[in-house]
């Protein structure tokens, strides 16, 4: 997989953008429309919808899968399937080896110190619930505070609400500004020695805002809080270095990273994982089991009760290989160019309002069309083969802050084309025609 040269279609007229400061990984020369080189790896991208070529712009909901991932899962079931960590036979040993190799790959992907800091979960949601119910429930006392932000996906909000109800802790929320960024002055006011946990989203699934995670995490840790980063949206789009971010926990999903559904990752700092009680009990997570008491395995096994999603982990491994071959720095540069151009094109359509204007943004573009409900926008775009999301995006508190019941959201991946951004703008003009808005 190589990056195309500097000549090519779709060269934007935008000024070069600054590379996000938190991601110091070396960047290749500026890219121009490299996506076609990668598209052919994704079988679904050459299908049609309602008679039109599929334009898939709902990557924030889930990403498409390259043939390499589909084949890896298929090959595992066809030739290597066995349960892991138990069978004393060749097939099981091979399955175990392949499974554990993905743990190492995952650790490398996000620059964890060791593979033991990687816990496989069902997804981002279960990863965050694990932290809340294990670390949170065993340490929080009435009057302690959990600090979240006003731009969280419900998956990084509801688990903390539940935890506060269970422990008597108090939930505090960092407000969001009119541009769709965190109110940093308010953050400083809300952070105190009572703050035991600070949980925040790295990249907003509604606005695309890239939060200054490193800076906020450093301040929160200084105040004595444990920090939890929801990386569901950032992991597929930005280079992530958990040690550089400085966070204690980082959660993401396989299916948004071009891997299968049903598998997610919780990175946890080793020193913390070791002190945490298990969340779910069962097979694989024990050291010894007596009739009345059991002792528990060391992390990460302590947090992986029962048979894990083995084939899904294998598929995630193939997805990580695929992404690493292209390189997340290259991906983020291309997507940045694509998003900037798409934002321009969409904003040029009369009646279209882009929601939020954060200084640093990736992958996600939310907007409204005057006089037309987002569902109706989505239905007309669907008729053009364009898949976008319409609704509240599982972020109702943020939508309330924005004063919008719903938005249309187009979210891009590295395989999207400038032509697809143009198709979106064209589709929006048709929306205006259909509704005579």
């Amino acid at each position: 997989m190589t990056v195309r040269g500097a000549e090519g279609p779709g060269r934007g007229t935008l000024p070069p953008r600054a590379v996000p400061a938190e991601h110091p990984a070396p960047l290749p020369a500026r890219l121009t429309a490299p996506a076609p080189a990668w598209r052919s790896d994704f079988p679904i991208l050459s299908t049609t919808v309602r008679g039109k070529p599929l334009v898939y712009l709902d990557n924030a909901a889930t990403s498409q899968k390259p043939r390499q991932v589909i084949d890896a899962i298929s090959a595992f079931y066809a030739g290597a399937n066995a349960n892991i960590h138990r069978g004393v036979y060749d097939l099981s040993e091979r399955a175990t080896g392949a499974f554990e190799e993905v743990r190492l790959k995952t650790a490398r992907l996000i620059a964890a110190e060791s593979a033991e800091e990687i816990v496989f979960t069902g997804g981002t949601t279960s990863a965050i619930n694990l932290v809340a119910q294990s670390w949170g429930r065993s340490t929080l006392r009435p009057g302690d505070e959990v600090l979240v932000t006003g731009m969280e996906h419900h998956s990084n909000l509801v688990p903390w609400q539940m935890l506060c109800e269970q422990t008597g802790a108090v939930l505090r929320v960092v407000p969001v500004t009119g541009t769709g960024e965190l109110d940093l002055d308010a953050f400083d006011r809300l952070l105190s020695e009572r703050t035991r946990i600070f949980a925040l989203v790295h990249l907003s699934n509604v606005l695309g805002t890239i939060n200054p995670v490193g800076e906020l995490v450093a301040r929160a840790r200084e105040a004595g809080a444990v920090t939890v980063v929801d990386g569901a949206q950032s992991a597929p789009h930005l280079p992530v270095d958990v040690q550089a971010l400085g966070c204690d926990f980082f959660a993401f999903s396989g299916h948004k990273l071009f891997g299968p559904t049903g598998v997610g990752v919780l990175y946890g700092r080793a020193a913390l994982l070791e002190r945490m009680p298990p969340w779910q009990g069962g097979g694989s997570m024990i050291a010894t089991v007596g009739p009345e008491h059991s002792t528990y395995a060391a992390p990460p096994a302590r947090f992986e009760a029962g048979t894990p999603p083995i084939a899904e982990v294998i598929g995630l491994g193939a997805a990580i290989d695929y992404v690493q071959q292209i390189g997340l720095p290259a991906i983020s540069v291309w997507e940045h160019e694509l998003l900037a151009r798409a934002t321009e094109l969409v904003a040029e359509v009369p009646g279209v309002r882009v929601v939020g204007a954060p200084a640093r943004r990736a992958s996600v573009l939310s907007f409204t069309v005057d006089g037309v409900h987002p569902h109706d926008v989505s239905a007309v775009l669907d008729d053009e083969g364009i898949a976008v999301r319409a609704g509240h995006h599982c972020a109702q508190p943020l939508m309330a802050r924005l004063g919008l019941p719903a938005t249309v959201r187009a979210s891009f991946a590295f395989y999207n084309l400038l032509e697809e951004a143009e198709a979106l703008a064209c589709g929006l003009r048709r929306v205006r025609e259909v509704f005579a808005a």
Binding site: H375, D376, A379, D383, G391, F435
Partner: protein, 151 residues
């Protein structure tokens, strides 16, 4: 006609732009909220029910064209009907939008037949039926009180 044009027929677009009976009802005796938590559509429905007859009906809503137009058209067809007639209409309407109507039955639906295109878009069935569910809820809401002897 494409599936999209079938969905957004002119009557629907027109009712979306200028919904009928779109107002708060001051002297109604029933009220229900309808909402679709998955998409955030919200609707409030007011009824004035007397002796089992819908004397007046009104609504206000934030939602897509299909749910607004469906609410608007619903208010125009159920006004003056009995509870039983409204229930019967809902049954046919529901079968219309889910593609389960018997041949020839759509003619009995009158204006509501413009929603036939919804059956091609299963995800929009909830939008079209949201006001109807609110109506049934409003009709059922105070039934026990109505049946109780006046005091």
């Amino acid at each position: 006609m494409s599936a999209l044009n079938e969905l957004y027929q002119n009557v629907i677009l027109e009712h979306n732009r200028s919904p009928r009976n779109y107002r708060v009802m001051e002297h109604g005796n029933r009220r229900a909220e309808g909402n679709n938590p998955l998409c955030g559509d919200q609707l409030t429905l007011w009824l004035k029910l007397a002796d089992g007859v819908i004397e007046d009906v009104s609504f206000q809503a934030s939602g897509c064209a299909i749910s607004r137009a469906s609410a608007s058209l619903m208010t125009t067809v159920v006004k003056g009907r009995t509870e039983a007639e409204a229930e019967e209409l809902f049954d046919r309407f529901h079968r219309l939008v889910t593609g389960k109507l018997e041949q020839g039955e759509s003619e009995t639906l009158g204006k509501l037949a413009v929603f036939s295109g919804v059956s091609e878009f299963p995800i929009r069935v909830k939008c079209a039926t949201l006001p109807w569910h609110a109506l049934r809820q409003a009709l059922a809401a105070d039934a026990s009180r109505d049946e109780a002897p006046a005091s």
